[in-house]
Amino acid sequence: MGAIKMELVVEELADGVTRAALKGRLDIDGAAAVDQGLRNLAGGRRRLVLDLTDVTFVASMGLRTLIVCARTMLANGGKMAIAGAQPNVDRVLSVSGVDQVMTILPSLEAAVAAMR
């Protein structure tokens, strides 16, 4: 752990959907690395898909980052979905109850479709 720096890559898709792809470990250091970037996206986009396909781990502070992003989107009248969570990440999302308050879909395609 600690060797992989968290990455955030932003891609504008069709129909006003923004894909934010995260890569790495969304632990406390990873969350700190992408927190401001996600806040900026949440404040300026109306349809946001967080692609977690390449996220290998998520913990408390990572969940907090995701929730703050979703809360900002909701406050601004936007929509957000999480896509592609690996089984271990998906388990943290479900155990914590995040899956009850966010749209979580298995694939990027399904998440993008849910934004339209």
Partner: protein
């Protein structure tokens, strides 16, 4: 306790402690899956202490101990804050998009065992991780 470290009362102190505990767990032969569980729980506990706990006196005096025995890794998280027993504190039933209230669910699901004691000398949360469960 095989090793012990103090934890400063700031979020930036958590990362090095997680790495330290993970190295001990790896040396003990804990599987990658259970090491991730350990990381989830330890980050949750330390973040809660740093962000939310109220010290009884001037300092929170947070410390983490690691011990290993027969493939199990035990973490002891000590503090001098107001007591908070995660085994009996009611989880938030519906916290919506509030960012808090979810940690107890993670601890209960990812630690193989949880114990807690509180006394005049402070609190201690004991979390055990082994490959056989849960």
């Amino acid at each position: 306790v095989d090793a012990w470290t103090k934890v400063a009362d700031r979020l930036s102190a958590i990362g090095p402690v997680l790495a330290w505990a993970d190295a001990a767990a790896k040396d003990a032969g804990l599987s990658a899956e259970r090491r991730d569980a350990l990381q989830v729980c330890l980050e949750e506990v330390l973040a809660n202490l740093i962000l939310h706990a109220r010290p009884r006196a001037r300092h929170k005096a947070i410390g983490v101990g690691v011990s290993t025995d027969s493939g199990a890794v035990t973490l002891r998280v000590a503090d001098a804050c107001q007591s908070f027993d995660p085994r009996i504190a009611p989880p938030v039933a519906d916290s919506g998009l509030r960012s808090g209230g979810r940690g107890l669910r993670l601890l209960a699901a990812f630690a193989s065992g949880l114990d807690y004691r509180s006394g005049d000398d402070g609190n201690e949360l004991v979390m055990t991780f082994r490959d056989s469960c849960p």
